[in-house]
């Protein structure tokens, strides 16, 4: 792997790490498989791109992007709580609707180019650092800030109620928490982070595209399960950091797979979604297989003894 590919993988790992943190809030904290993210990543990118082309400061452009993501999340939350639509289906409905919304946001076009426009990277580029590091420096700072904010949030009364909503809704309702509120706001916060990630990705790659969000949920899940498998911990700080590290490791693995070449055959970039799906399925199933293997070998050991 070249230095360029390596630094690029870290860059993607960090920026998609923000998305993975959002997915962590729904998937692990709220126990809510949320496919809205496939649409809200694009939504964040589209809103950011439109704001920048309208002359808004690229940092400030991330604020309406996050607000739009939050709103998209609350729609999913509303569908599942107030209208009692199955959570997975609610998120699919919002995701589908967002495809149309995103094209509307971009003024009827499927993409917006940001080449030559100001970006959040300009101030760092002005510091005259290596071009490999520009995005990484900014993303690292942002990821650190978001990790700190998320750990703080989960430790608040509200955050604890979020955790309990995912773990035992019956119990937390009996303790006076309106789970409709925690689900709606929780999914909102999650999608705000995903949209922030989308806005930064658009600025980094210089374009917002209506198809860029496809497979976001699977990449997010991959990051979470890779992080959990490697840094098995119950401490909330470690868990949150491991989600970001999982995202970085996942992107490095992809870069490695792309540079892998056997007898003239190699992976294409378009194969990645398939590879990722296999990876996620494997990491979701492996713990169970390991457990049953252990149980079997334990039984064999016991039977072996007279």
């Amino acid at each position: 792997m070249s230095l360029y590919a390596f630094s690029g993988a870290i860059e993607l790992g960090l920026v998609y790490g923000l998305m993975a943190l959002g997915v962590y809030i729904t998937f692990r904290v709220l126990d809510f498989p949320d496919l809205t993210v496939d649409g809200s990543l694009t939504l964040g990118a589209a809103v950011t791109a439109v704001c920048i082309t309208k002359g808004l400061n690229p940092f400030l452009a991330l604020v309406p992007a996050m607000a739009a993501g939050f709103l998209a999340g609350t729609v999913t939350g509303f569908l599942t709580t107030k209208l009692r639509i199955l959570h997975l289906l609610s998120s699919i409905l919002t995701m589908t609707a967002l495809y149309s919304v995103n094209i509307r946001v971009m003024g009827g076009r499927p993409n917006i180019a940001l080449l030559g426009r100001p970006t959040v990277f300009d101030p760092i580029r002005a510091l005259d650092v290596s071009p490999y590091l520009v995005s990484n420096i900014l993303f690292l700072a942002l990821v650190a800030a978001v990790v700190a904010a998320l750990v703080w949030l989960i430790r608040t009364e509200y955050g604890q109620a979020l955790l309990a909503t995912g773990a035992n809704p019956k119990m937390i309702t009996s303790l006076g928490v309106n789970t409709h509120f925690t689900v709606i706001t929780g999914v909102g916060i999650s999608n705000a982070l995903v949209a922030l990630s989308g806005g930064l990705i658009a600025q980094n790659q210089g374009t917002a595209d209506v198809g860029m969000g496809v497979g976001t949920i699977v990449a997010g899940l991959a990051s979470i399960v890779v992080g959990e498998t490697i840094f098995n911990s119950r401490r909330i700080t470690t868990i949150v950091i491991s989600v970001v590290l999982g995202s970085v490791i996942y992107r490095l693995a992809i870069a490695a797979a792309l540079s892998f070449r056997v007898a003239g055959h190699s992976f294409e970039a378009s194969d990645l979604k398939l590879l990722t799906t296999v990876l996620v399925v494997a990491s979701l199933v492996l713990p169970r297989v390991r457990k049953s293997l252990r149980a079997r070998s334990g039984a064999a050991a016991r039977n072996g003894r007279p």
Partner: protein
């Protein structure tokens, strides 16, 4: 204190499977009263409790708690005034959260969840003191997930949590039924201590007639969605399990098999 008027509840209403779980139930419970509710399966005991807690809103009737009509209140809003312990020991706590986190959630029952710290150092000290009374060593395990505890330990913890903020009304839904007899005895003793200490108005469902006779000041028997017997403390003190069975048959001549073994043997 608790005033229930004409409470009815249907399941699958309007279908061929329609069941009326509560039939115009009237019930008055005085402040500080400890009421045991018995009855066979499907008698409507749990539905009555669920109607009071808001988990299953009634179709007809009114529920007035402490002078306030709470019939239309959602479950989470009623929680401000009602403490609950469930039959399943896994229901009352979050397995993945620590003992202190669970207690902190309970300490905020009925309060707004703000962006202040979820558990404070001051509270930790208070939890340690509260847990000491259980004599289970839990005060040294504040940081352990509740999932590490046994069923009896979790049920004891749930009981403490339900009463951490003094509830106007305490609802116990067969909270010892899933425990072994010895543990059930311990949890029942803890229940009595806490109820007496705080003079809590309590409604306890039980399947166990002996338990129903041994605890509380009043005994209610339900059958097919109605309250068929209501004994005061004085009447109750003279009752035996045999009397109860006799009363039950007298009220239901048509259903000789209505008393299950479980009702008698617990």
């Amino acid at each position: 204190m608790l005033k229930i008027r004409g409470l009815s509840k249907y399941f699958a209403r309007g279908t061929v499977n329609e069941v009326q779980a509560l039939r115009r139930v009237d019930l008055d419970i005085g402040t500080g009263e400890f009421v045991c509710v018995i009855g066979s399966n499907g008698a409507g005991k749990s539905t009555l409790l669920a109607s009071i807690s808001g988990a299953a809103p009634p179709d007809e009737g009114r529920i007035v708690l402490d002078g306030t009509d709470i019939t239309a209140w959602p479950e989470y809003r009623r929680a401000r005034h009602i403490g609950r312990v469930f039959q399943d020991p896994l229901s009352g706590t979050c397995a993945s959260m620590t003992i202190e986190e669970n207690m902190a959630l309970a300490l905020r029952r009925g309060k707004r969840r703000t962006l202040r710290a979820g558990v404070t150092r001051f509270e930790r000290g208070r939890f340690r003191e509260t847990l000491q009374r259980l004599d289970l060593g839990l005060e040294k395990r504040l940081g352990d997930p509740a999932g590490f505890l046994s069923g009896g330990q979790r049920q004891s913890l749930t009981l403490l949590m339900a009463t951490l903020v003094r509830p106007t009304l305490l609802l116990l839904d067969e909270h010892t039924a899933a425990l072994d007899p010895r543990t059930a005895g311990l949890v029942m003793k803890l229940t009595c201590d806490i109820v007496e200490e705080n003079r809590l108005t309590t409604v306890m469902i039980t399947h166990n007639m002996q338990q129903a006779l041994a605890y509380g000041q009043r005994l209610i028997m339900m059958h097919r969605g109605e309250i068929i017997l209501d004994f005061s403390a004085e009447e109750k003190s003279r009752l035996t399990v045999q009397d109860l069975i006799h009363h039950f048959h007298a009220a239901n001549p048509a259903v000789p098999g209505a008393i299950s073994d479980r009702l008698v043997l617990g």
